[in-house]
């Protein structure tokens, strides 16, 4: 595979990048900090990655998305897989008190992620198809008190990815929407892990399987599929009472 990955410097993206590199896929890391990109690329090379490139790309600067994907494609001699794990998180209180932060988070997690996927979609379809994988969240499944705004961005993203899958699968574009539950990464450091919290490496293995099979939706860790089945079926009045 020839993979461009936005968000591979840390968290689940770092784990996923290692799985691609170790099994011999060509990987191009996209990210905002060139020095960090280079350190991560070196890590992939030391772990056996044969073809590893880097291209600067900031999720908050959408005008750079197209050129970055073109540069990645240039470095790898084509692209057939694009993954975006990059995203922001902030607590609901913080977002309520800081309008500018809320606006930035809405832009990064929804608008710009969709714009990035659109740029990727065009290029993958032009090349005869491929796989587009984006990280949404279980937080997008129901409106919940602790993640009103963050959850809304992920709900929007999940809806977009589902539509994309319906519309373009026949044309050869496989869309994979990843819905992580709580995963112990830097993003959740300082939050108390609930039962069933996942580890980034295990999540990445599951996501890689879904990418290989072109599975449209994957919950990770898997148990969250069941948990969300329950939560989706809770009546509104119950959701209003509970604190999570």
């Amino acid at each position: 595979m020839k993979v461009a990955l936005l968000g591979g410097t840390r968290g689940m993206g770092r784990s996923l990048a290692r799985l691609f590199a170790e099994r011999g896929d060509a990987v191009c890391l996209l990210g905002r900090d060139p020095a960090e990109l280079e350190r991560s690329a070196e890590d992939l090379r030391a772990r056996g990655g044969k073809q590893v490139g880097t291209v600067p790309c900031d999720l908050l600067k959408p005008e750079g998305f197209g050129p970055a994907l073109d540069a990645a494609s240039g470095q790898l001699g084509g692209l057939n897989t694009v993954v975006i794990t990059a995203g922001m998180f902030a607590g609901q209180e913080e977002l309520e008190n800081d309008g500018a932060l809320a606006e930035r988070l809405l832009r990064a997690n929804f608008t710009n992620t969709v714009v990035f996927c659109e740029e990727a979609r065009r290029r993958l379809l032009a090349g005869g198809g491929g796989t587009l994988c984006a990280f949404s969240s279980v937080a997008g499944e129901r409106g919940r008190k602790p993640v009103v705004i963050y959850g809304a961005t992920k709900a929007g993203l999940s809806a977009y990815l589902e539509g994309l899958d319906h519309k373009f699968r026949a044309a050869g574009l496989r869309t994979v929407c990843v819905k992580p539950g709580f995963v112990k990464t830097g993003m959740t450091a300082g939050l108390k892990p609930p039962p069933f919290a996942g580890e980034p490496d295990a999540v990445a293995r599951r996501v890689l399987g879904a990418i290989d099979r072109g599975k449209p939706v994957v919950y990770a860790p898997g148990i969250w599929a069941l948990i969300m089945l329950v939560i989706r079926s809770l009546p509104r009045t119950v959701m209003r009472k509970i604190g999570f």
């Binding site: 410097t9 840390r10 968290g11 770092r14 170790e22 350190r39 991560s40 070196e42 890590d43 030391a46 772990r47 056996g48 112990k184 990464t185 830097g186 450091a189 300082g190 939050l191 108390k192």
Partner: protein, 440 residues
């Protein structure tokens, strides 16, 4: 974050505290008093002093920064685990030069405890293979230190239990191997006398040696057990392919206190011993050979809610050939219901100023915490001091400051280096408060 959160070492004796994980160690360690890795030290070395709650933990900072396939030099961030190093590099015929009893430890923890393995008599401690360290100091400066640069800081950091600085990056030499498989030999041993003989004999022949003693057997059979020796298999001996990933089991819940009572343990040990053939030799999977306990996740739950400690000491050769026998006699007499004891020979002292091993014999045993645990440790320490031996800080939770001082003539030199780089003792741990009189 909830205010009731706790931190604990492998012995499961919690204190109030919480760890903050992240990829960016430089940011994480700014202003911090102590850093921890995977928390595999048994006692309180990885726990914050009483007045501090939040502390950085390194496991997410785990990138390999450079690997030179010519020389075997590897540089990585301090949170990279030994398990990951083996997984990535064994198939390419490189190994960590030191393989302790568990692989769930970080490079930072390997440096800070200056860990040793079954190969100590042949390879020394991990620190012998370290080329350079990147440290964040007490005054928040970041420096690189090595045998040439800030040599005092370097020597004090190897085995310095995190008290000299936060280790950000580690550069060390990997060891070339002929295959990722092990050629091992297992021998049944009748008593402590035979044990000491066989250990000495194996020293010249095998790079990896460890013995397991059944501590419940007393009298003429005291010290009976099994001796494991090994080396990396040659390419011709090795089976095709790399060793498959082993399945793991998890101890699903905390065992009740009575589970490890004497009759049960006696039966267990008897089973282990009798099932063993007198002598067997052949190809082994590296995991059960190097890290037998890693096959069971969270095995520390078997000691029940009160937790446990490990007593590990080294008896120097100067204490006489009879010292291990006398110490074992004391051990079995005091009981403490520990059932297995690990025995190993150590080679000479290395570069680390406060590193544990010295030429002699090391014994290690788990002790479930009971009301009399402090008394048992005190008794063992008194005997140990008389023999000129010392304990391993990475396992300790119960040693008294006055005992520690008497077993560590090297302490003053270590404290002098700390005073030079950290006069206010900003960097400290629950253990250093207990043993070195650091401010709470």
């Amino acid at each position: 974050m909830s205010s009731d959160s706790t931190l604990e070492g492998w012995g499961r004796r919690p204190v109030p505290g919480e760890e903050v994980r992240g990829e960016d160690l430089e940011r994480l360690t700014e202003g911090a008093v102590l850093t921890r890795g995977l928390g595999r030290s048994y006692g309180d070395s990885s726990l914050p002093p009483p007045s501090v709650r939040r502390m950085p933990a390194t496991p997410l900072a785990d990138r390999v920064l450079a690997f030179d396939a010519e020389t075997g030099a590897l540089r990585a961030e301090a949170g990279l685990s030994l398990r990951e190093i083996s997984r990535v590099f064994h198939p390419r015929n490189w190994s960590s030069p030191v393989m302790p009893g568990t692989s769930h430890i970080t490079l930072g923890g390997m440096v800070a405890a200056d860990v040793h393995g079954k190969e100590h008599h042949a390879h020394g401690c991990f620190g012998e293979h370290v080329r350079s360290l990147k440290l964040r100091l007490a005054d928040d400066r970041i420096v690189e230190c090595s045998r040439e640069r800030h040599a005092d800081l370097f020597r004090a950091t190897l085995g310095g239990m995190g008290l000299t600085g936060h280790i950000l990056e580690v550069e060390f030499s990997m060891c070339p191997i002929d295959s990722p498989w092990v050629w091992g030999q297992t021998r049944k041993i009748a008593d402590i006398g035979e044990f000491l003989e066989r250990l000495a004999e194996a020293n010249d022949r095998w790079p990896y040696i460890v013995g397991w003693i059944d501590c419940l057997t007393t009298g003429t059979n005291m010290g009976r057990g099994v001796l494991h020796c090994g080396r990396w298999a040659t390419a011709e001996e090795a089976p095709a392919g790399t060793p498959p990933e082993k399945r793991k089991f998890t101890v699903p819940f905390e065992f009740p206190q009575f589970a490890l009572n004497r009759p049960f343990v006696r039966m267990f040990n008897w089973g282990l011993y009798t099932k063993q053939r007198k002598l067997s030799e052949g190809i082994l999977h590296p995991d059960p050979f190097f890290h037998p306990l890693d096959a069971i996740s969270e095995w520390n739950r078997i000691y029940g809610p009160a937790g446990f400690t490990q007593y590990q000491c080294v008896l120097p050769t100067a204490a006489g050939p009879d010292a291990p026998r006398r110490f074992l006699e004391l051990l079995t007499r005091l009981g403490g219901a520990s059932f297995l004891c690990v025995i190993k020979s150590c080679g000479p002292e290395g570069t680390g100023m406060l590193s544990f091993p010295t030429q002699g014999t090391t014994l290690a045993l788990d002790i479930a915490v009971r009301p009399d645990t402090q008394k048992i440790v005190d008794r063992l320490n008194e005997a140990l001091i008389e023999m000129g031996g010392r304990i391993y800080l990475a396992k300790d939770m119960f040693t008294r400051a006055e005992h520690f001082r008497r077993m560590e003539p090297r302490l003053d030199a270590f404290l002098e280096v700390r005073s030079r780089w950290d006069p206010e003792r900003r960097l400290r741990s629950a253990q250093s408060v207990r043993l070195m009189g650091d401010p709470e």
